[in-house]
């Protein structure tokens, strides 16, 4: 029988390291791949829906993680001018950190600058003690917490965002 690495890739007899396993930066979180046991939901709760296709059942793999989109920001200025950002149900962190929900690349923006929360069909923006403040519409004073209405303008660092609600 031929020789196979831990991931089941066929290897030449002379190889000691599998070249196909080395390629990307992605690492399976946790222990060595074959030992990994992931948290998993019972199969019965899998969000599978069947579509009526004769002979072949098509299942929809749904996104369990992300809440529905309830609005958008569109950047009017700055490096990301013209880009849109989805606002989802619940809390949306706006900041320069890569794990923020709405990531704005601007040196004047704090890593977690502000939070936009959608609840009971209302949008509230809250400044998260940012260094340079959060401004709404033409206001010259930074806001602590403010309700946003459709077409409001939010200024964060050097970025101007237009708010659109669903």
């Amino acid at each position: 029988m031929a020789k196979f690495c831990a991931n089941g890739h066929q290897m030449e007899d002379t190889w000691t390291i599998c070249p196909y396993c080395q390629k990307t930066g992605y690492q399976t979180p946790g222990a060595p791949p074959m030992k990994t046991r992931l948290e998993s939901e019972p199969a019965s709760s899998a969000p599978a829906q069947s579509a009526p296709a004769p002979g072949r059942k098509t299942v929809l793999l749904t996104d369990k993680r992300k809440p529905p989109v309830v609005g958008w920001f569109v950047a009017l200025t700055g490096e990301q001018k013209g880009e849109d950002f989805r606002i989802r149900d619940g809390q949306n962190i706006i900041g320069s950190a890569s794990d923020a929900d709405i990531v704005l690349r601007d040196t004047a923006i704090s890593s977690k600058h502000a939070s936009l929360r959608y609840k009971d069909q209302k949008f509230f923006i809250t400044d998260l003690d940012s260094t340079n403040g959060t401004f709404v519409n033409d206001g010259n004073d930074p806001v602590a917490r403010e309700e946003l209405k459709d077409n409001d303008i939010v200024r964060i660092g050097d970025v101007t965002l237009k708010f659109k609600c669903l």
Binding site: F4, A6, H9
Partner: protein
């Protein structure tokens, strides 16, 4: 790794002649534990990623590893249900990774997984990678491509021959890890396999350039490992436009 008797396995991937990275990934796995093996069987997975900034490589790798790990971690039960759960998990894992790495946004991947348990075949499938069954000198395509041209074939607007050379044959209608929910196909009923049957999984880098007849000729005759070498070489001789990946399992 040690492969239990019962099959002959071969697999190979190649970057091809025109790409500067290999966005395909694949694996073969069996649970280490004998009892687990009796419940889960063996599985072979292949994936063909897409997306810039290494996104394609990352997506195909997450898909293959997550489908494998999640399938093996499922409670014992119907392999079909377990495959569905595993595909859901891989789908979410890629989305999560793209979310955490905004530069990779838009990455996605095909994914085709064959599970072999007690000589019964189960499969899960998204995209345009393929699973073929070779039996008694005939080759049949088990999966159906999720592609724009396949949609046209279904509607009777293209013949399969026209679809094979259509300029838009690379457009996918489903991929794991994309923004929204995706349609995936899973075997309805397990398909009984017999000694001599051959399963062939491949990405479009192979089936786009090598005809079913050639697949049958190579994989049906030669030892699995040699057939993989032969088929990859054939695809490269014909242009090797994309990454090429093939896995062959012969039931003994």
């Amino acid at each position: 790794m040690h492969i239990r008797p019962g099959i002959e396995l071969g697999n190979l991937t190649d970057i091809g002649c025109h790409r500067d990275e290999n966005q395909d990934y694949y694996c073969y796995a069996e649970p280490e534990d004998e009892e687990e093996f009796a419940h889960k069987g063996r599985l072979a997975v292949i994936a063909d990623g897409m997306g810039g900034h290494e996104g394609g490589q990352v997506a195909s790798r997450i898909a293959v590893e997550r489908v494998r790990d999640a399938y093996l971690a499922q409670p014992d039960g119907d392999p079909r249900e377990n495959l569905i759960a595993a595909f859901c998990e891989a789908h979410s894992a890629i989305q999560q990774y793209a979310h955490d790495h905004p530069e990779l946004e838009g990455m996605g991947t095909t994914c085709t997984c064959a599970v072999l348990k007690n000589n019964q075949l189960y499969y899960g499938h998204v995209g345009d990678s393929r699973l073929y069954l070779l039996r008694q000198g005939a080759i049949s395509l088990v999966t159906e491509d999720h592609s724009y041209v396949q949609g046209l074939v279904r509607q009777g607007m293209l013949t399969p021959e026209e679809a094979a050379v259509h300029p838009q044959r690379n457009i996918l209608t489903a991929a794991l890890g994309t923004e929204s929910a995706v349609p995936a196909d899973f075997s309805q009923e397990p398909m009984p396999l017999a000694p001599g049957d051959v399963l062939l999984l491949c990405t479009d880098g192979l089936h786009g350039l090598v005809s079913d007849r050639d697949l049958l000729f190579s994989a049906g005759g030669s030892p699995a490992g040699d057939a993989c070498q032969e088929l990859v070489k054939m695809a490269k001789n014909r242009g090797g436009f994309d990454n090429i990946t093939v896995q062959i399992l012969r039931i003994l």
